[in-house]
Symmetry: C2
Subunit: 208 residues, 2 copies
Amino acid sequence: MDEKVISQAVISRLPRYYRYLGDLKDEGVERISSQELSRRMNVTASQIRQDFNNFGGFGQQGYGYNVDYLYNEIGKILGLNEEHNLIIVGAGNLGRALTNYSNYENRGFHFMGLFDKNPEFVGKKIGSLEIMPMDKIEDFIIDNGIDIVVIAIPKAGAVQVADRVVKIGVKAIWNFAHVDLNVPDDVVVENVHLSDSLMKLSYNLASR
Amino acid sequence: MDEKVISQAVISRLPRYYRYLGDLKDEGVERISSQELSRRMNVTASQIRQDFNNFGGFGQQGYGYNVDYLYNEIGKILGLNEEHNLIIVGAGNLGRALTNYSNYENRGFHFMGLFDKNPEFVGKKIGSLEIMPMDKIEDFIIDNGIDIVVIAIPKAGAVQVADRVVKIGVKAIWNFAHVDLNVPDDVVVENVHLSDSLMKLSYNLASR
DNA sequence: TAGATTGTTAATCGATTAACAATC
DNA sequence: TAGATTGTTAATCGATTAACAATC
């Protein structure tokens, strides 16, 4: 391996490139220059070329970038050619919303199970998934090759759930709980702190 | 006004400070030094002091920071002492999840209305809110002093909804649609692109 | 007063932008 | 070949960290 470490600033921009390239593809655009993409996306052409060149040369002098090729390459970089099996812990409103967020499916993200500690929920079906009790989490993860765990429960239980799934080898957590998870270095956590986001909006609104 | 512009990097960290200070308050901690906070939060003490000093001196040499006071000051900076009235456009799973995200309530964020274009949804109640038809959005915003609009519909309709609410004076949009909204300079948009977040997780998992 | 710790300036580091030679 | 546009190096800008004088 021994790959160059890419800064998170670059990584954060990749999904947006991917989205724009997908749109261009849909429009039937075959090739695009960094300058034209820069105009559309409102970033500098320089940044676009620097970002792409972190991963090797995807373009051609005098021509630009082939949209289809670049789209696929960025998809590969993002790991979208891999299949991922997920479970969601927490069958509250948010957990249910994520369950049905079916447009992930076609990107290789498969939502396989839904868990909740509320006995009244257990057994109920959300879409095609049946809600299972919390004590089945470990077995389900192992039996179904789950590699991503989505935490959609209040902060009180989140840390404990994270500890449990990390213990049996899960290496990726998508965390919606409003708490920082403390995990080993080789486990990646992606936080979605909705209230942080709303506070940022509140600040920017107030200080317009 | 004429206030110094604070970088978004700093703003993004404020909600996290706010959360940790709230926890400290709950623990009954009265004062804290930048060094101790740095240890807890895993950031440098230098950064903490720099961040706070963007807004004036909240501490005292030789003593540190008063937890309660600092908590309140950051709350004020974030605009949490102001009342905000919100509506949610889109009564799908995500919209419903946000509706019931009631812990925002006690921070002065009031979810006042829920809208959907699906005639079958209109009239149904989600919690205490009745789903209203899309053509009532403008009147409702004006009549109820709505200052934040939450967009929780697919990308297809999102741009149009944004245009409509901006037209009648809304200055803040919390956007969950997977599309960039093009709004005037004096309108703030806070994006929550869930699939971008999942792609980042996917990348970081693959390149661990 | 002595010790602690801030507020703030200076140094460093990293990310973005500009420039241009390489090359299609 | 001439024109266009990348890949890449150099310059700039901004953010983070270190250091320390001010002061409680």
